[in-house]
């Protein structure tokens, strides 16, 4: 199995743990990732909120590159994933079509629109991959209560981006169960963390994050698992004082890598503000403390 890999800016900077753990897990599962050559920023929030043309053209440029490889694209960053899928949908109508035509002229090739853009949750959430994950787990997260947090970008707008029920996603739940964790029931799976407003309106983000963190604690969670760099960053860095105790916030791939005892991923946890080690250590104390 081979995929073109689109890390986006986050995975090359603030969310490096996500990048490393994703590569490690995919490798362990026999998925080969080829990073897109000369990929560029997807535009993220600034592009689509200031210029509709750029909002489509920036992600679409990467789709053009992906088409060259003949491979489907794996995009771990929820914002990148969302932008790419939006560009694909937009290419079929209205202003999106203009962007497409403009790009076709600039790049001198036709846009075929036959590349599939996948998020790791979609790729790993299928029955076969889940079984493969189960096989690879050597250090199950037995007894660890996790709250799965999908955020808003993976399911909305549903028609363009959702690969599962946008209101009730389960792919991350199933993955965490396959890794042996206990997934708690809570109501905040798809709430917004405030996203990039962390910069412009930190007060708002602190309030939103507090609600999410408190809800996770109320549900009995010992860790929050995410699949989005912005979610991880907001929840990890803005939760101070929100709940009665800090909650570690892990990338889903970090948790999987730990359960699979993948060497590449060891020590990643130290990069988080809330140290996940105590929670993970409690899980498997008989076996000695695992390092993340």
């Amino acid at each position: 199995m081979r995929y073109a890999y689109y890390p986006g800016c986050s995975l090359h900077s603030t969310a490096e743990e996500y990048d490393i753990s994703t590569r490690a897990v995919m490798k362990a599962l026999g998925v080969e990732l080829l990073e897109l050559e000369d990929w560029s920023c997807c535009g993220a929030t600034p592009a689509h909120s200031s210029d509709k043309f750029l909002g489509v053209a920036l992600p679409m440029r990467n789709l053009f590159i992906a088409e060259e490889t003949g491979l489907d694209v794996l995009a771990p960053c929820a914002a990148c994933y969302n932008s790419l899928r939006h560009a694909q949908a937009a290419a079929e109508e209205g202003e999106g079509q203009e962007a497409r035509r403009a790009l076709e002229q600039i790049l001198g090739r036709e846009y075929r629109g036959d590349v599939q853009v996948l998020h790791p949750l979609e790729l790993l959430g299928g029955d076969e991959m889940l079984e493969a994950v189960r096989q690879k787990v050597t250090r199950p997260l037995r007894g660890l209560k996790v709250a799965t947090y999908y955020g808003c970008l993976l399911g909305r707008p549903a028609r363009e981006v959702a690969f599962e029920d946008p209101e009730r996603p389960v792919s991350m739940d199933r993955l965490m169960e396959a890794a042996g964790a206990e997934v708690v029931r809570w109501s905040y799976k798809t709430d917004c963390c405030g996203g990039s407003l962390a910069v412009a309106r930190p007060d708002l983000v602190v309030e939103l994050v507090a609600g999410i963190v408190r809800a996770a604690l109320a549900a009995g969670a010992e860790a929050i698992v995410t699949a989005c760099p912005l979610c991880q960053s907001n929840l990890d860095t803005r939760q101070a004082g929100a709940g009665e105790r800090p909650v570690p916030v892990l990338y889903v791939t970090e948790a999987l890598a730990w359960a699979m005892e993948l060497p590449e991923a060891s020590g990643l946890g130290r990069r988080h503000l809330v140290d996940p080690a105590p929670a993970l250590a409690a899980v498997n104390s008989q076996r000695g403390m695992g390092e993340l």
């Binding site: 946008p166 209101e167 009730r168 708690v184 809570w186 109501s187 809800a215 109320a218 549900a219």
Partner: protein, 1486 residues
Amino acid sequence: MSRAKETKANGSVLVVGAGIAGMQSALDLAESGYLVHLVTDEPSIGGKMAQLDKTFPTNDCAMCLMGPKMTDCQNHPNIDLYTMTTLAGVEGEAGNFKVKLRAQPRYVDVEECTACGECEAVCPVRARDEFNEGLGERRAIYKQFPQAVPNAYLIEKRGTPPCRQTCPAGCNAQGYAAMIGEGKFGDALEVIERRIPFPGICGRICHHPCESECNRGEIDEPLSIAALKRAAADYGWEEFVENHPPTPVPEGERREERVAVIGGGPAGLTAAFDLVRRGYRVTVYDALPAPGGLLIGGIPRYRLPREIVERETQYLLAHGIEFVGNTRVGEDISFEEIRSKHAAVVLAVGLPRGRSLPLPGAEAEGIVEGLAFLREAALGGRPPVGEKVLIIGGGNAAMDAARTALRLGAAEVHVACVEARHEMLAHEWEIEEALEEGVKLHPAWGPQEYIVEGEKVVGVRMQRCLSVFDAEGRFNPQYEPGSDRVFEADMVILCIGQASELGFLEGSGVETSRGLIAVDELTLATSEDGIFACGDITGRGASVVEAIAGGHEAAESVARYLEGRDLREGRAKEKGEKLPPPETTPRHPAGRHSVRMADPAERARDFREVSLGFDRETAVEEAKRCVHCGICSECLQCEQACEKNALRHQDAEREIELEVGSIILAPGYSLFDAELAGEYGYGLYRNVLTSIEFERLLSSSGPTKGEVVRPSDGAHPRRIAFIQCVGSRDVSCDAEYCSSICCMYSTKEAVIAKEHDPDIEPTIFYLDVRSYGKKFDLYVQSARENYGVRYVRSMISSVKEDPRTANLIIRYYTDGELREEEFDMVVLAVGVRPPTGAEDLARAAGIELNEYGFARTDPYDPTRTTREGVFVAGAFQRPQDIPDTVMNASAAAARASSLLAEVRGDMVREKSYPEERDVSGEEVRVGVFVCRCGINIASVVDVPAVVEYARGLPGVVHAEESVYTCSQDSLKKIRTRIQEHNLNRVVVASCTIRTHQPLFREALREAGLNQFLFEMANIRDQCSWVHRDYPDLATEKAKDLVKMAVSKVREHRPLHLSPVPVVQKALVIGGGVAGMTAALEVAEQGYEAFLVDRERELGGMLRRLRFPVEGQAPPELLESLLARVDANPRVHVYTEARIEDFSGHVGHFQTTISLPHGEGGPRKLVQLDHGVVIVATGAPEFRPDGHYLYGEDPRVLTGTELEEAVARGDARVSEATSVAMIQCVGSRDEERNYCSRTCCTQSVKNALELKRRRPDMDVFVFYRDMRTYGFNERLYREAREAGVLFIQFADEDRPRVEAREDGLYVAARDLLSGREVTVRADILALAAGAVAPEGTAELASALKVPVDENGFLLETHIKLGPMDFPSQGIFLCGSGHSPKFISEAIYQAQGAVARAAQFLSRDQLMVGGVVSVVDPDKCAACLTCVRACPYSVPFINDDGVAEIEAVQCQGCGICASECPAKAIQLQHYTDQQVREKVRGLFAEVI
């Protein structure tokens, strides 16, 4: 009709669906001369309404309203009920359809079942109770709900569970697990013994393939099925043997044929047992001294104790099997001799020899053959063993030999085999147990040479085995050269396979193949006639359970052979697909229990049993883990419990073919799946319910008996939120339309919840309150004002659950701010969807569906589908409430019967009775029949004592008891006793007259007695059921009840019904769309109609409408109706008519009308004689003088005036750039507190028309609630999309209009934004409501029918009687009933005709019986009765005394009880009769 005239039409109608619509259609048709086949796919009739607690807007109990209709459907001689049945196909054409039905089995005979409930009490399987929406459980055998009709049980079966399907012998594991789960070990054993004659043996040594297939394994781990079987044998044996003592078939019933079975192993014994039970004389020959074969001579005792084998084999033999032991066929007796003495032979000789290994040194001492070794040990011998024993082989026998050698004293035991560990043939658990005991295992080693020292073996040289089988799968081990190793051993035991000894067959003609007997795969017949084989020797019996399976098959073949039947017929073994686990059975929350085992260190020392089995409690716990894949476990406990023998477990699906003239489809609707609207958390949050679930919580027959509790913790919720429009008005979940009923049902649920528990605080989150029906607004108003129901207009942005309290936090936006509020419970108002299976039904019936999945119908003939002769009734047409459903169900009945008018009466069943006996001169001779009702009565009341007591009562000449008095044989007995004892009065002491009196009265008629010479005493509902804890007192009460009934019946006199002729003509008052439709419908039914209208022209309000809501434009409809009326010779039109006088009764009314006669001359009087009246007065548009400058400024019009102006191209409108509309003008205000229903849609329709003509025109609609219910919601959406602006104003803050030069300025505060909005309009259209026409009160007074506070005519019952008046023979339709759309007026008019047809279709009405009679001599004309009668029947006649027309009287008795002069007596309940009843009770006292 375009129907072909050559073939005569069929006078019966198929009605599919038996909810309120289906029942209404069926009853209307059956009452007007047609035979009805009423079909439902449910176990009972009743439909969705049966699930409802109360109904809006009267808060009547739904079940109480509907119960009588259900009973009527069941008892009607011209309605045949088909439950669990679907429509599979329709051929032919209108008038002559051939329909195919598919009936699913109920497994209980409906005719026999008395619903006593004994079966339910013993059923071990619990399943989700669908009727209670999964909020409760029921059994696998169940009655759908307490009031189900037919009142009968049924069984849910899903198919064969995987365990049973996998078992070679077909053992019903689910069945015995169910029994063990109930602690019934003896009954469990009975279930096992049906297929496995060796339960204790199989429970120990079966390799249980069932467990690998067990669906519990998908949840956690499979059920421990084999160990449960052993538990059944361990703890149920004594009880089982006591209940099923081994008795041979009595000599007289035995068959002559003798059968020989050679081989007494499990296969042979099974065959022998089956045959001896069928009456054959069976002899079993065996080489061993005792029966059992390998069971006693192969399997070590530590696995299978000898006592168990003896106990079970002796039990079999005791059924009359002759066992001849120590007899080797071919040596002690020749095969030929056996053959000559027996009519058939079964060869079950097994594979008695072990195989040897022909290697160098094979002759050495110390090399033994495993089978012989095991046989000796198993039979109780102690064969010598060496110090160091090497077993060669990897199967179960090798493990047995190894563990036996250990027990016999070997110091070290090794097992070597060519197979790798994972390839070994021995079962994993056998290997594990051997390892536990200390056996050393050496997989993948193959023997090359025995190492011999002197005579004795000292070891075996082995080589590493690389592979066992070659590419073709043949045994062909490959070894690694040079890997040799010597395994030291002073004893080598060879366990490398078994072989046959078939020498005795030589010359017999029985063919063999590769050492086995060649048999037919299906029949197990050998090449010789009459000789069959089973077990190991056929190559299909390697395990004991397979041997048993073979034994059964061989026995079946022998029996067929001897009885001369086909050997193969019906025996093909096809295994269906594996049944997945059911979602509807509760899951017992436990993991697999493990069986107790003896300590490995201890146990390897002797031959005591290793496995200790389950203790009783663990067995029960383990059994409860079964998920009951088949639902019904076929344990057959119900069969044993049923005293009526009503169980039919073998029933299968049936096809039924019928010929009918027409078809009505009334399948109802389904509800939106709330899980699809994930944002509300249904299915995830414990305290989020759907409205129908909440309805069941409210119902006294529901899971909590009406107590409102939270599913999460059983606490009483205080704050309950109702969220509207879940799956309605929502394009995102494919439900664009409005479901029409939810606003009202949520209001009702809020009100009823509040009534159940005054602490509840209901809040309804809504978009528009759509209370558009008759009296609905008043209901909502009362909910707000009297019950404190809070209405919040808001869409919900999120629902979250607090995981600690399971409370729900709702976030919503209202009044310009975002709020968060906590609730204890949330109820989702789920929308109406097309009925489940609508597409299949449409395909079968050959009709089209509309874009929403409902039936495609004609807007102006709303019950008509796309296939002629097929009609649709109820919610399949569109979402609608119960009154609309009743109306169009009657309409469908009318349309179906019009089609078949020529053959009316052809198919109805008239019953003939013997001539009635004149009992007037006879002395009273009472017969009393006391019912046991199974044990319903008898378990509490001492029935024989009551019978004895009854015998001594004065007038009683006969008394007896019966198990079920209502059963056919008991009814026959009543008839016989009437004749035998010349009885002239009958009393039945049993249940209730409500359901059973008609049955017993019928029995009297059939015996030639007048049906009124009967009385019932209710000693069940009113005695045994309510006094269960006081049996003695209950018996005394039962005696009293019987005594009272006897006392009363002695005074009963025959009552006779007398005929009154019917004038088969109808008077239709009002000539609008309803009136014209009604008159035409009457004519199509074959009768004459007088159509009278006070206007100069027919047409009414229809004349003023221009644009359609859907379909044809109203003017076209008007034209076609006028033309049809004009052309129909049966319709007589009287315009400019006035009703001058009205008198008579149903069947014959006389109406005098006056007509204009010349210019200004006196009016001409005409008298009309008719049997029925249909009132079809309409409702004109309100003239809003004084409202919003109407009448003062020419730019202000009404909605209808705007419609007319647009249509005629009025320049004021066509040149306008801006049009405003204001809704609710003259509606929903203090003066007229009702919704006019049509104005919202009319405004939207007009707005769209304006936008269509002038897209740039500004159109504003000022409204309170947009009530574009049903599919009209689409118009509302289209209007918004077209740019029409909708501005909502508050009830108390109406818009203000100011006239200026340049236009009309309309100002209002917009509720959504909270801002003041002012628009300029060239034209202002006022949506003026509909009002009752002038003269309604006078007309109502003349007809003696009621009107409501708004001047509209008031029907009998707002829910179920929307076209009837209390006065018989007078019917209602059109807007005079309440405002409505054209299509609604049409179906109500057609429905009214169906209601009228039950009288029109008869030559005469039978009147009398239980009616009030006035004694004129006593009457003082005080008018008490006139005022008291709810049906306005009594009147003061020309003689100045009260008169009660028998034909009108309903027999309620109110007048009789009110009459101060005692001048009125209600027949059958006369003072004398009631007094006698009371006197009977107090006989001892008085």
